[in-house]
């Protein structure tokens, strides 16, 4: 009787959102707890309100729910999916055919209030068969319907998939910041505070000051974080270790020391505990300087290797194995890859006699290629393009001139004047994105654009371990903001921008990366060969299959 009362009242209320609460209250007052499944169910019902046309179906489904309620509270989690499947059917498509089938089936259980598990299972299977059949006769069904045909589809699949944004590009969202602060507190890592006024277009990114290092808030003989990692974090934030390859190598070196000093605590497995130990270190390094794509891939590799260690392996053996893995990763992916790329570039006549090659900034790989080409007695000259505030080109210039290569040095503002002389442009990359875009030092896309305008071929050199499956079409969404104080220049004792922090209307921007579209890039030289920019997802797919 009580059930009927609820049914009649709830049917009327199904169309009204706020009154849903009454139903819940009533259910609660009846002494029944709303299980997780029921909450999900309620959520789904709200969605279906817009799609439900026939009250009869609701009534039928309501009957189902009410009877299933005592069952679900005791039943395993697999039961609730049956309810959504029942409800999804009426909700999905305007056609009544699938509706009537479950409706009729729904009425069957209505006659018998209590059922055994096996019988319910059989009913469920029958319903799903019917739905599958109806689905095949339909065209253009939504993904939700497809999901329902799976036997044990978890309820979350049926909701529209919301892609979560990574936390590091949601700095202007206070909830995300709170979550981050909580997470860091749990890991006992200090939170680094942002510095200065940010340009509004980039207010979703972190901006730190080098004068406020993270070590200020750490205890000096650092016990929470391994000393090698503290040292590494400092070197990152001071810029002593800069450049994609250098950062990855230094990271792996620090991890080697961590692994060496690690001892498995009692009742813990190395494969699980070590991964957990590495998490706060990675958060710490992220706070010192946002991780690069190459570092991310290296970390993924290490975590995979650690979790693949069999549990019966002795600690020393396991550690040795891991150290060897790291060594071989560096050897294969960085050192040998560099050698292979250089060989490829030189042998395939990408650097020929009489060439004038333009390079931008200081890319370790490009410098390596040029030095090797010079050793193989190719006659070419290099134009080094540089930009403020980093002025990395000076370091590239030093390395090339030390070898004996004749170089010219210009700033990026002169690039369109110098391009008529250039025969090829060699660029290094920080990462290659899955849609073929090249992420590199800010200014690279400029160079590529101007080179395209002058019809000069642009070659990007990149090892495959820098390929990442992120997709980006602009340089705003995900970038890095460097210390804005680098923009301040003191000439002849005067600093024009002195005291800038007090000007609230003055915002300074020191971007680190930018994204070059694949239209401007003619070729990517990797250790797998020379591929066009658009083949990056193929390489990624092949890599994933390998792993």
């Amino acid at each position: 009787m009580l059930n009927n009362l609820i049914l009649s009242s709830s049917v009327a209320r199904l169309t009204d959102g706020p009154e849903r609460k009454d139903e819940i209250d009533r259910a609660k007052s009846e002494g029944k707890d709303l299980t997780k499944e029921e909450k999900q169910r309620l959520r789904k019902e709200k969605k279906q309100q817009k799609k439900i046309k026939e009250k009869k179906d609701d009534k039928a489904s309501q009957e189902n729910e009410k009877e299933k309620k005592p069952v679900t509270s005791a039943a395993p989690a697999s039961q609730p999916p049956t309810q959504p499947t029942v409800q999804k059917a009426p909700s999905a498509v305007p056609a009544t055919a699938p509706v009537s089938v479950p409706a009729s089936e729904a009425s069957v259980p209505a006659d018998k209030p209590t059922k055994t598990k096996a019988e319910l299972k059989a009913e469920r299977r029958a319903r799903q068969e019917a739905e599958r059949a109806s689905k095949q006769s339909k065209k253009g069904e939504t993904g939700q319907q497809a999901a329902t045909s799976k036997p044990k589809a978890p309820p979350s699949d049926l909701q529209p998939v919301v892609k979560r944004l990574p936390e590091h590009i949601q700095v202007d969202n206070p909830d995300v910041l709170k979550k981050l602060a909580k997470k860091l507190e749990r890991q006992q890592i200090p939170l680094r505070s942002d510095y200065g006024y940010k340009v509004s277009l980039f207010s979703h990114l972190h901006q730190y000051s080098r004068k406020a290092p993270l070590t200020q808030q750490l205890s000096i003989p650092s016990t929470v974080i391994h000393p090698a990692i503290v040292r590494l974090g400092l070197q990152y934030s001071h810029g002593i270790v800069a450049g994609s390859n250098a950062r990855s190598v230094a990271l792996l070196h620090a991890f080697k020391q961590v692994i060496r000093d690690y001892t498995t605590p009692q009742n813990e497995e190395l494969s699980r505990d070590l991964v957990n130990k590495l998490k706060p270190y990675i958060s710490f390094l992220n706070q010192c300087r946002p991780l690069s794509a190459s570092m991310g891939n290296a970390i993924k590799y290490i975590k995979k290797e650690i979790s693949n260690i069999p549990s019966n392996c002795k600690e020393d053996e396991a550690k040795n194995k891991l150290l060897n893995c790291i060594e071989s990763y560096i050897n294969e992916k960085i050192i040998l890859a560099g050698v292979a790329i250089a060989k490829c570039a030189i042998e395939k006549q990408k650097i020929s006699d009489g060439d004038v090659i333009l390079v931008y900034g200081c890319s370790s790989l490009v410098n390596h290629i040029l030095c090797k080409a010079f050793e193989k007695s190719r006659k070419f000259r290099v134009i080094v393009v540089d930009s403020r505030p980093r002025l990395e080109g000076k370091e590239a210039l030093r390395r090339l001139v030390q070898k004996g290569i004749s170089c010219t040095y210009v700033l990026i503002s002169a690039v369109s004047y110098i391009l008529p002389e250039v025969s090829k442009v060699f660029l290094g990359a920080h990462a290659l994105l899955a849609n073929g875009y090249v992420m590199s030092r800010v200014g690279t896309s400029q160079i590529a654009l101007v080179a395209k305008a002058f019809n000069v071929p642009v070659l990007v050199c990149c090892e495959t371990y820098k390929f990442c499956d992120r997709v980006q079409t602009d340089s705003f969404v995900s970038n890095e903001l460097d210390d804005p104080d680098d923009l301040i220049v003191t000439r002849k004792g005067t600093t024009p921008l002195e005291g800038w922090e007090n000007e609230s209307s003055l915002r300074r921007l020191n971007l680190v990366y930018d994204v070059t579209p694949p239209d401007f890039v003619d070729l990517v030289i990797t250790e797998l060969g020379m591929i066009p920019c658009t083949s990056v997802p193929v390489v990624l797919r092949v890599k994933n299959v390998d792993q």
Partner: protein, 453 residues
């Protein structure tokens, strides 16, 4: 473990014998706390959990009874050495070498500072330095020092410190005493660092971060006995030594075991870590250089690097002279947010007390007294109608009625007779000043002390 702290508390206070002939320097009260409490507090605040304290038996005994030191939450590993033995600071390090397992932070007990220690240690970590030290701009002492006749002598022998243009890398260090013919700088240093700033107004805080390899090096070289006087200038010179740089290539392939067999001292200082090739690779691939304008790589390829952090703001004082002691008594209490009057002191209502005075525990201050800008130690009794201005009164002192004490230092357990008038005097331990005495600018110590030279 990253760093081990070592506190040198065995110093004798040779430049202020009047104060230290009865109380060891490490236990001299400053702001009613023993002197060595300040560096211990600095270490504790920063997060150290253990400290190795090298001291004499006398100090060890005094430490065990002192309340403030008992308050220190860190674990103090006290190593006592002979008092009469002429042990320098480097000798002391050699003595505790078996306890040293990692890089060390050496402090002196007479350092009072509020420096942010991470500045020094960050230099040590980030540049993988062999030594990092702290220095501070010297401040003139403004207070009148008792017993000083005539104009204040100019500071003893200055230190000439040469830093590069960033102000962080230490290029040159010498004391005036060693430079008889003039300052000579090697050409190789000038070639590598064409811009060098030489500073003379700096005070060495005697705070050093040293690599473990340096301690091992000390055990091999028994001729070095003082960190400040010999080890530091040696390390600074060694940065630019030719043998150091040419050994670089060999070191990359050396095993750790092989280094133990190597004789020459240079090798000891350059013990490479197990993953040296990886570090080299990272440095090669990194597009950073610490200097611009010449053809050499970062750090000019040198493995030995010494860094200095020069403090220009904040308090950094070494209490090794009487003037420094007086100055520090004025400044040190401002570092802490402690009540100036100890709760157990008994002060009568009719006492005029200035806000910048400090009264210790179990004191009795009677009526009609006036205490301005002074520090009064524990268990002191001050009777009626006494005027104390600008003075330091240590523990257990009795000042009878009607005294007038100005700009003086009264050591422990002294008794000042009634009606005495002391201006800019230093009264030694346990001395009795007769009533109605009038002393100005004198050092009053016992005859037994006068015999010690």
């Amino acid at each position: 473990m990253e760093l081990q702290a070592v506190l040198m508390a065995a110093g004798g206070g040779s430049r202020m014998t009047d104060l230290t002939y009865n109380t060891p320097k490490a236990m001299l009260p400053v702001g009613n706390k023993p002197l060595m409490w300040y560096p211990l507090n600095l270490l504790e605040k920063v997060g150290f959990e253990e400290v190795i304290v090298i001291t004499t038996k006398e100090v060890q005994k005094a430490m065990s009874t002192d309340l403030k030191i008992k308050d220190v939450k860190m674990k103090l590993d006290v190593v006592s050495i002979q008092e009469d033995g002429d042990m320098g600071t480097a000798d002391a390090l050699r003595h505790i070498q078996p306890k040293i397992k990692t890089d060390i932070l050496v402090l002196s007990c007479d350092l009072i500072t509020d420096v942010a220690l991470h500045e020094v240690v960050d230099l040590f970590r980030a540049h993988n330095a062999t030594m990092a030290m702290l220095m501070s701009k010297a401040h003139e002492f403004t207070e009148t020092v008792p017993g000083q006749k005539g104009k204040k002598k100019t500071a003893e022998q200055r230190d000439f410190v040469g830093v590069d243009k960033s102000g962080k890398r230490l290029l040159f260090m010498a004391n005036e005493a060693d430079l008889e013919d003039g300052l000579s700088i090697r050409k190789s240093i000038m070639r590598k660092h064409p811009r060098m700033l030489i500073k003379t107004g700096l005070v060495d805080a005697h705070l050093y971060c040293l690599k473990k390899a340096v301690v091992d090096f000390l055990t091999e070289n028994k001729s070095i006995s003082s960190i400040r006087g010999e080890l530091v200038p040696y390390l600074v010179r060694k940065q630019f030594s030719k043998t150091v740089n040419s050994q670089k290539l060999k070191d990359d392939t050396d095993d750790q075991t092989q280094e133990k067999n190597d004789g020459p001292a240079n090798h000891e200082l350059l013990i490479s870590s197990r993953d040296e090739p990886l570090l080299q690779l990272a440095q090669e691939r990194s597009c950073w250089n610490d200097h611009r304008g010449d053809m050499s790589e970062a750090y000019h390829g040198g493995k030995l690097r010494c860094y200095v952090h020069i403090m220009d703001q904040g308090l950094c004082c070494r209490v090794n002279t009487l003037a420094a002691y007086i100055e520090v008594n004025r400044l040190a209490p401002k570092l802490f947010e402690e009540p100036s009057v100890h709760p157990s002191a008994d002060i009568s209502e009719r006492c005029q007390m200035g806000s910048d005075s400090i009264i210790g525990a179990e004191c009795h201050i009677a009526d009609k007294t006036s205490i301005k800008r002074s520090t009064i130690g524990n268990f002191t009794t001050v009777r009626e109608k006494v005027k104390v201005t600008n003075s330091i009164i240590m523990h257990g002192v009795t000042i009878e009625e009607g005294c007038n004490i100005q700009g003086s230092v009264i050591c422990s357990n002294a008794v000042i007779g009634r009606g005495a008038d002391l201006k800019y005097c230093l009264v030694g331990n346990g001395q009795h000043i007769e009533p109605e005495a009038e002393r100005t600018n004198e050092i009053i110590v016992g005859t037994d002390q006068l015999m010690e030279i």
